[in-house]
């Protein structure tokens, strides 16, 4: 477990270097999307149409921010529960070359398999630390689906956004490992 600094787009080698438990600081562009935006992206994929953004090597952050106060780029912006995106994630990883997801909570077996097979990584940000996390988001702009309000697809410019590796491409799982390590009889 170590501190790592990454900037998307991520390569296979970048992803291989991240292991469960690593504290990662992300700088650059990431995309915010949650339930409805995922549904729309996957519908486009299924129809064989082009996506509004090229996700190759990119990171999606599962977040539905609160409204920005005047003069601020964004409101509070902590992660939402990732499990709701599980039905869409394996397809996105396989077909778009998506490399990273940031959220909170456990993923399905299918997502973990896709992470191993296609070399991707699942990270968790601290749920409920939305005001703190917002400090590392410097700019936010809606790139698609403005009608979805807090669920719109957004492009975020981030500086040292903190997250921790939960599922790495080598098959390790911080949630399972952590629980085993600290459980008492």
């Amino acid at each position: 477990m170590a501190d790592k600094y990454v900037s998307p787009p991520l390569t296979d080698a970048d992803v291989e270097g991240l292991v469960a438990g690593d504290q990662v600081y992300i700088t650059g562009v990431i995309y915010a999307a949650r339930d409805s935006a995922h549904k729309k992206l996957v519908e486009l994929l299924n129809r064989g149409e082009e996506l509004p953004v090229d996700l190759r090597g990119q990171i999606i952050y599962y977040v539905g921010p609160s409204p920005a106060k005047p003069g601020r780029p964004i409101g509070s912006a902590g992660p939402t529960t990732s499990g709701r995106m599980d039905p869409y994630t394996p397809g996105l990883i396989a077909e778009t070359g998506l490399k990273g997801m940031i959220g909170k909570g456990s993923r399905s077996a299918a997502v973990k398999e896709a992470i191993i097979k296609h070399k991707a990584v699942y990270l968790a940000a601290v749920g409920g630390a939305g005001a703190l996390i917002a400090r590392s988001i410097k700019k936010a702009e809606v790139v698609a689906y403005p009608e979805l309000g807090p669920e719109a697809l957004q492009r975020l410019e981030v500086e040292n956004l903190p997250a921790i590796v939960v599922n790495d491409c080598h098959g390790a799982d911080l949630y399972e490992g952590g629980m085993r390590k600290y459980a008492l009889p």
Binding site: M1, G21, Q23, V63, G64, P65, S66, P67, A68, K69, G75, S76, A77, G78, T80, T81, G83, K104, G105, S106, A124, V126, G127, G128, A129, G130, A131, L132, I133, A134, R135, G149, P150, P162, I164, L174, Y175, G177, G178, M179, R180, K181, Y182, A183, L184, P185
Partner: protein
């Protein structure tokens, strides 16, 4: 008979919605501080530090501590000698929610229809629970409740033979199943007895008690302590990264119940354990 205007209710609710989301209670902060000393896992300690830093930023900048500013759950303890003037009480509560969530830049998360409806745009309607109490005062409590922890809650209709052991097992299983999803460290509200819906409401009310204030009933206080110890042995830890602090407190409320039933409800709350009250 004492008169309270609907305008006073609107104003009170609008302020409470914002205060509840900006300022975490001192009771919760104190327990978080203490937990930091007790947590042995390095990622777990780091999470608690981030949570505490977040609480300070939210209060200082008057922004919500969590972007999920929740369903507006509103408890009204309405004195039976109060007369509300100027409009329907529930309309006033909803107007307060509308103003509070808009003026406070809080997230609007309510869909007008549970099956894929449109966002109502102002976080109404509130979920309102009214209790008629003696006296001529109105106490309003706003308890915003996020989806992540609410989704991990459960009601079980146990048989009386299951007894205290069955209740404890159900609580532990619910917390274990929730794992990292409800943003641990969590607060666990438990309702035992009554019937199906009474148990659920008791569990919600249990979350309003000052954190770690034990139940006045000695046997229940003991069960709270035991459950807290057992939950913190699970190893889930802060955010599920592994550690000893999975729950900050377990609060149990009970009610008499039918000879054939043993309902038990577990309402999980996250560390963003928000509620704020005012008495008019």
């Amino acid at each position: 008979m004492r008169t309270i205007t609907s305008d006073a209710v609107i104003e009170a609710v609008a302020s409470l919605c914002q205060e509840a989301n900006f300022y975490l209670g001192d009771d919760v902060k104190e327990v978080l501080q203490k937990s930091l000393e007790e947590e042995v896992s390095p990622p777990g300690r780091d999470v608690i530090k981030q949570i505490l830093a977040n609480v300070e930023i939210a209060a200082g900048e008057q922004v919500p501590m969590c972007q999920d500013t929740g369903v507006a759950v509103v408890f009204l303890d309405l004195g039976q000698d109060v007369h509300v003037e100027g409009g329907y009480l529930y309309d006033a509560v909803n107007e307060g929610v509308r103003r509070g969530y808009t003026e406070g830049y809080l997230r609007k998360s309510m869909l007008g229809h549970p099956l894929g409806g449109k966002n109502t745009g102002d976080n109404t309607p509130a979920v309102i629970h009214t209790r008629i109490v003696p006296g001529d005062k109105l106490t309003i409590t706003v308890a915003p409740k996020g989806g992540g922890s609410e989704n991990m809650s459960a009601v079980g209709m146990l048989t009386p033979a299951a007894g205290a052991e069955g209740v404890k097992k159900f609580v532990l299983e619910t917390v274990k199943k929730a794992g990292p999803n409800p943003c641990p460290p969590i607060v666990v509200g438990v309702g035992i007895g009554g019937n199906f819906e009474k148990a659920a409401l008791l569990a919600k009310e249990a979350l309003l008690r000052p954190l770690r204030q034990p139940s006045p009933q000695p046997d229940i206080a003991e069960m709270e302590q035991e459950l807290l110890t057992e939950i913190n042995k699970l190893g889930i830890g802060p955010q599920g990264f592994g550690g000893r602090i999975t729950a900050l407190a377990v609060h149990i409320e009970i009610f008499p119940c039918h000879i054939a039933s043993l309902p038990v409800a577990v309402n999980i709350n996250c560390h963003a354990a928000r509620h704020r009250s005012v008495t008019l």
